[in-house]
Amino acid sequence: MTDAGFVLVGWVLTGVAVSGYRLRIGQRSRRARRSLADPAPPTRAP
């Protein structure tokens, strides 16, 4: 693999890791907000 290859892999990996993490936080936040907004109390812990 050429030098450029390593550089590309590194930058892409970083981008994927950071945005993936941000998206995951967003997903869990949405789920939590939905659960808290629900007037019916949860029956069992998931």
């Binding site: 693999m1 030098d3 450029a4 390593f6 550089v7 892999v9 590194g10 930058w11 990996l13 970083t14 890791a17 950071v18 993490y21 941000r22 936080i25 967003g26 869990r28 936040s29 939590a32 907000r33 659960s35 808290l36 907004a37 109390p41 949860p42 029956t43 069992r44 812990a45």
Partner: protein, 289 residues
């Protein structure tokens, strides 16, 4: 939206939060920060991949430095925040749930960026020095740092009373260990007279565009850290609220069961008595089953 004030949390130490979603920053500020972070990272990509010249010795591979160095900085910053927040939690005069939440959020970010640092370091080292790994103080300490805080996160996941205290103490144990690890590994390598080539990466003279890009990268990543920290903190607050609700619901359910059983028992007793009366048999012994 208004939520009912939650009953006292299972940890008797922390003050209960009235609002489920609290953040470190005001929502408007957080949004602006998010936009700024995105812009800065985009600018960094342009600078780092196109504008900055390739290194005289390392060639294009050096462009990974613009990610690896800030990631390492972020990792150590994040763990310092975790240690500070843990200390604040442990000190009774400043104890509050917010510090525990902050410690956890920052540690998670720290582990993410430590992993990134290690991977980027390998990707940088391979083309430049032909090795995926080198046993020098910085790399080994970073690897140990990773495992120290993976352990911390594992401990945090375990629910129950005293969770905040356990975690806070573990964070400080880890933090105190880091300089000891660094010193002992450094001593080990210098005694073996392994002049590691990895030392060159930061002591080399970087000037002009490259230096600017590096500092810009540190700035951009710091913005990223604050932004992600606020997000993760918020999520922590939300999930704590969710846990409290589930706990309350479970308790309420348990309480509801009790009168139900009493009603059932009474119904059974009445049925038995009725059957005996119909069969014209004197109840022997008295009490129905």
């Amino acid at each position: 939206m208004p939520l009912t004030t939650p009953p006292p949390t299972t940890s008797t130490d922390a003050r209960p939060e009235a609002d489920a979603e609290t953040g470190l920053l005001r929502p408007r500020v957080a949004m602006v920060l998010g936009v700024a972070t995105l812009a800065a990272l985009t600018a960094l990509a342009i600078l780092g991949l196109a504008v900055a010249p390739p290194d005289a010795v390392q060639g294009d591979a050096q462009r990974l430095m613009y990610l690896h160095v800030p990631a390492a900085w972020l990792a150590y910053l994040a763990f310092a925040v975790t240690a500070g927040a843990s200390a604040l939690w442990l000190w009774s005069r400043t104890r509050a749930a917010t510090w525990d939440r902050l410690a956890g959020a920052s540690a998670e970010l720290g582990v993410l960026f430590t992993a990134l640092t290690l991977v980027l370091g390998s990707l940088w080292g391979r083309p430049v020095w032909g090795v995926w790994w080198a046993w020098d103080a910085r790399l080994v300490t970073t690897a140990v740092l990773f495992f120290l805080y993976v352990g911390y996160l594992a401990l945090r996941r375990i629910p129950g009373p005293g969770r905040e205290r356990r975690s806070a103490i573990a964070a400080l144990i880890a933090f105190v260990d880091v300089p000891v690890v660094h010193f002992s590994v450094e001593w080990w390598r210098t005694l073996h007279q392994q002049g590691t080539v990895f030392n060159e990466e930061l002591s080399a003279e970087i000037e002009g565009t490259m230096a600017f890009t590096l500092w810009f990268a540190v700035l951009a990543f710091t913005l990223l850290y604050v932004y992600l920290l606020d997000r993760r903190y918020r999520l922590g607050a939300l999930e704590e609220g969710m846990e409290r609700r589930e706990l309350d619901a479970a308790i309420a359910e348990r309480l509801a069961e009790a009168p139900g059983r009493a009603v059932e028992a009474a119904a059974r007793a009445a049925e038995t008595a009725r059957r005996r009366a119909e069969a014209d048999v004197e109840p022997v012994g008295g009490a129905p089953r």
